[in-house]
């Protein structure tokens, strides 16, 4: 047991950590409100807002009509008044109806009003597959939003990071899309869907301080140091990558990006220059995915250090299939094949 655990640091799963971040912030900042479909009395379909309405009242934690564009538009308006709204979109797959308010409004308010108005909102949304959710409960739309100037995109991979990053996102004065990898809400996932599910208890990052702390936006984490290859990943894939690397006995350096925009380019550059190889892993579809941006950046900045072509491991360019979920998911086999290829010579 680590010092922190002995000192009474609570163990939390990712939902509890996210809940705790909102609780801490609502306590500190009377202007923070949470809103969204089923988030009030019920506490959210994944229970992320459980208890907040009972504690802070209905005007600070409330259910909304089922209109995603309304939820984001209203959050922007509340932000313009001076509140700090944290709207939830029930599944990232349902964020598309909100696109205009996010892309044309939240993202550009500061710029077009020359700072007269800002949009200090944090949009939370569960994303990603691996739960047999079919095509409308599985998508990873981060690449759509990283393409938009003016929105920050954050994706945690552990309970500790989830809480610290969410607090930092809420305190940030710009709009942040906070995507929560729902497959690892209750425990890390090694990509072997046929093995028993694990919970977070045994993972060191499930020690989550009860109070306020921040994990700075724009800073990646080195999950594993290594010399053979740099692997850039985020969300659920951090865990799939880590366990695949262990199983294969590869000395990889694993970087958990944590924030996609703004990106920790220094961490990426330093690592790739050290290892000379770069592999990118994400669950989202391949074409125009965030991996394409990463590959371009790495070749622009590290070209003369590269000893092999950059590898991208991604979901396929199809809608997320229901029954063939595990053939679609970029699991240990796809990652393993790519590792063999990039380390070949």
């Amino acid at each position: 047991m680590s010092d922190a655990a002995q000192a009474g640091t609570p163990r939390m799963n990712m939902i509890q950590a996210i809940n705790s971040a909102m609780d801490v912030m609502m306590e500190r900042d009377p202007n923070m409100v949470v809103m969204g479909e089923d988030v009030g009395y019920f506490g959210g379909v994944f229970r992320a807002t459980a208890g907040l309405q009972a504690k802070y009242g209905k005007t600070r934690a409330f259910d909304t009509p089922i209109t995603e564009i309304g939820i984001i538009g209203v959050a922007i308006g509340m932000g313009a008044y001076g509140l700090r709204p944290v709207p939830e979109i029930q599944f990232a797959d349902y964020i598309y109806p909100a696109l205009d308010q996010l892309v044309s409004e939240a993202a550009r308010l500061r710029y077009r009003s020359n700072g007269d108005f800002t949009s200090p909102i944090t949009v939370r949304s569960p994303y990603g597959g691996g739960i047999f959710g079919g095509q409308t409960h599985s998508q990873s739309p981060e690449g759509i939003f990283t393409h938009v100037s003016g929105i920050k995109t954050v994706i945690p991979s552990t309970p500790y990071d989830a809480k610290g990053l969410l607090i930092a996102a809420i305190e940030d004065n710009d709009p942040v899309l906070f995507l929560e990898p729902k497959r690892i809400y209750n425990g890390p996932f090694d990509g072997h869907y046929d093995r028993p599910a694990r919970n977070w208890t045994a993972h060191p990052a499930s020690e989550v301080p009860a109070g306020h702390y921040r994990v700075e936006l724009g800073k990646a984490a080195t999950v594993r140091e290594g010399e053979a290859v740099t692997i850039l990943c985020y969300g659920t894939m951090v865990h799939v990558v880590a366990s695949t690397v262990e199983e294969m006995g590869v000395d990889a350096e694993i970087i958990d990006l944590r924030t996609l925009v703004p990106l920790d380019i220094d961490a990426i550059e330093a690592s790739v220059k050290k290892t000379g190889r770069c592999m990118i892993v994400h669950e989202a579809t391949r074409t125009s995915g965030f991996g394409a941006e990463l590959a371009a950046l790495v070749q622009e900045r590290c070209f003369y250090h590269l000893e092999a072509p950059i590898e991208r491991v991604t979901g396929f360019d199809t809608p997320y299939p229901h029954s063939l979920e595990w053939a679609y998911f970029p699991g240990p086999v796809r990652i393993g094949e790519a590792l063999k290829k990039i380390l070949k010579d």
Binding site: Y41, D93, Y94, F132, G133, G134, T136, R286
Partner: protein, 421 residues
């Protein structure tokens, strides 16, 4: 933020709250239930602004004694009534069995329509068999009424090797052009403007077919609902817009869709669309309202919005536990009763049915469902290997498979080999 002005009263924010929460006794005595037969039936050629009161009342045909009364009585013959009853009973039996199949781990997800069977079954019977339906996920009764094979529904639910949708879609997201049933989306209310578009196309082509669509009370909040309304009224689209007001949207009561302020049928008024509010648990009222709206549509009088006032008796889906947010007593306290029991009582009251035949019908429906399930399970259940061939994942993204998907298809086949699958 500036300090509020001291000389003015402070504002306060209203956040709706349902009348009952877990632990409360449910009491619906304040729900206004007008007597059966009390609503007038306008001529289908009347202007939409001449019967606004029908958006605020409840069109009801079946009275407490099981008699069909009033101007909306569709005067169906006994055979049609028995078919209606059987389709509703079959829908319920199907739901029971498939819900259980999910609980047994045979599939990932299921949604029942318990208590709302009349809304899909009776409406379908009032339309022509080639009219086009754009349903939500809770109108399985349409397919069952139109005689779609139970086995194929189950194959879809199991995502198995015989799934007509190739295992691509979440269970119950059926699609069947042959049966006039549009592909169900997981995203709410997208079907609403699509139904209007189909109806506009039918009108533009001088066709005779009309369209109908369904969404829930909660779903009326989506922008697509309002987009559909404006297109429907502007082009007088031959479409029936159904709102299934079962009063709950997962954990959110209908107040979060505006029901504290007005009815869903009243949404029609601002758009100049005909609006009817119907007892959704009265199969004959649903039939009559749909028949009326269909006649209006077929005679170029334009769209009708029908609110079906009903109650979601069970959880939202297999992922939901309603006891966490609503009073456990609500389903039984709900004053409009059960649609199957009410139609059965009517048939008994007119001497065309009895308890024995009811019991026999229930047994028959259960048997039919069981037989179909056995048949479907021969094609596999979810997660047990009998799915579509892996390479089919890349088919149907486009009409033809482009190079990058072909490459990914090859990659996936190589992965299967590498994994020894």
């Amino acid at each position: 933020m500036d300090a509020p002005r001291a000389n003015l009263p402070p504002l306060s924010l209203h956040v709706p709250e349902p009348k009952f929460r877990p632990g409360d006794e449910a009491d619906f005595s304040d729900v206004d239930v007008p007597p059966a037969g009390s609503a007038r039936r306008p001529d289908t050629a009347d202007k939409a602004d001449s019967f606004h009161e029908l958006a605020y009342t409840l069109i009801r045909v079946l009275d407490d004694a099981g008699q069909a009364v009033g101007p909306w009585n569709p005067r169906l013959d006994a055979d049609a009534l028995r078919k209606m009853l059987r389709s509703m009973a079959l829908t319920r039996a199907f739901d029971e069995r498939m819900f259980r199949a999910q609980r047994q781990g045979k599939t990932s997800f299921y949604m029942k329509s318990t208590g709302e069977e009349a809304v899909s079954v009776a409406a379908t019977m009032a339309m022509a068999s080639d009219d086009m339906c754009f349903p939500s996920y809770r109108q399985q009764g349409i397919l069952l009424t139109r005689g779609y094979p139970l086995v194929d529904m189950m194959n879809q639910i199991y995502s198995n090797s015989a799934d007509p949708l190739q295992g691509r879609q979440l269970p119950i997201m059926y699609s069947s052009k042959d049966y006039g049933f549009f592909s169900i989306s997981g995203n709410l209310t997208t079907q609403y403007p699509q139904a209007v578009g189909w109806a506009m196309a039918s009108a533009a082509k001088g066709d005779t077919r009309i369209a109908a669509t369904w969404c829930g009370d909660g779903s009326t909040a989506e922008g697509d609902f309002h987009s559909a309304m404006i297109f429907a009224t502007v082009y007088k689209a031959p479409v029936i817009l159904n709102v299934v007001n079962n009063q709950w949207a997962i954990s959110s009561f209908s107040g979060f869709a505006g029901a504290e302020a007005t009815t869903f049928a009243a949404r029609a008024i601002g758009y100049g669309i005909a609006g009817l509010r119907v007892d959704g648990n009265d199969a004959l009222a649903v039939y009559a309202a749909t028949q009326w709206a269909a006649e209006r549509a077929r005679t170029n009088q334009g769209p009708t919005l029908i609110e079906h006032f009903t109650y979601r008796t069970e959880g939202h889906s297999t992922s939901d536990d309603p006891t966490a947010y609503r009073s456990a007593g609500e389903p039984t306290a709900w004053p409009l009763g059960d649609p199957i029991r009410r139609l059965k009582d009517h048939l008994v009251a007119i001497g065309e049915w009895d308890e024995e035949r009811q019991a026999a019908m229930d047994r028959e429906c259960a048997e039919e469902v069981k037989r179909a399930q056995k048949e479907a399970e021969k094609n596999g259940i979810l997660g047990h290997g009998m799915h579509q061939p892996f390479e089919t994942m890349f088919e149907g993204v486009f009409e033809d498979i482009p190079w990058h998907l072909k490459e990914q298809q090859q990659q996936m086949i190589a992965e299967r080999k590498a994994a020894g699958i």
